[in-house]
Amino acid sequence: SQKIEQNSEALNIQEGKTATLTCNYTNYSPAYLQWYRQDPGRGPVFLLLIRENEKEKRKERLKVTFDTTLKQSLFHITASQPADSATYLCALVPVFTGGGNKLTFGTGTQLKVEL
């Protein structure tokens, strides 16, 4: 069966360190993968998209890697801050479906950045 797996245990790190979150998938050949941030009681907010032919993408303190051989994406936040505390979701589009790019989401990993 198809699965998107993110670590369900919360990740606690100290301010200033690099947080690394993992997204593994099985039985998918994703066209692209996305990462979202979700705060409690709010909708997810889009952060980054990486395509199957890209190895790495950066945006400010964020970096995403995508290894289609390992079937894994890593999401890094450098110089983490308490304001980065949130749940981070990965999502992928299994295949291009014409106009409808429906995403399938992982269950998310909660990040807590402590002072």
């Binding site: 369900s8 009681g41 909708g43 997810p44 980054l48 998209l49 014409g98 790019n101």
Partner: protein, 115 residues
């Protein structure tokens, strides 16, 4: 600021009631989606639409229907609400597949409780 607006943040309905959840976007997006989010299960796609009057079933369409009469509005209908439909409902919109690095824009969610 671009927005997806969901009509209610909190709703309490009785079992058997017909429930309408409204979603409006101001970004002229072709694609619109309805997800529900439950602890431990993540976001699950209920229905999506990639054009006016078009709709497609997602992964869990049973007990739901949708309507898209105008491009900016996508309504989710619970035909006869049941307690297992108590959940957070999230609406999202997006441009079609392949449009650069755009992700979904989500609304703030409607927390529905069926009693």
């Amino acid at each position: 600021d671009v927005k997806v607006t969901q009509s209610s943040r909190y709703l309490v309905k009785r079992t058997g009631e017909k429930v309408f959840l409204e979603c409006v976007q101001d970004m002229d997006h072709e694609n619109m989606f309805w997800y529900r989010q439950d602890p431990g299960l993540g976001l699950r796609l209920i229905y999506f639409s990639y054009d006016v009057k078009m709709k497609e079933k997602g992964d869990i369409p049973e007990g739901y229907s949708v309507s898209r009469e105008k491009k900016e509005r996508f309504s989710l209908i619970l035909e006869s609400a049941s307690t297992n439909q108590t959940s957070m409902y999230l609406c999202a919109s997006s441009l079609p597949t392949g449009n650069k690095d755009y992700g979904y824009t989500f609304g703030s969610g409607t927390r529905l409780t069926v009693v």
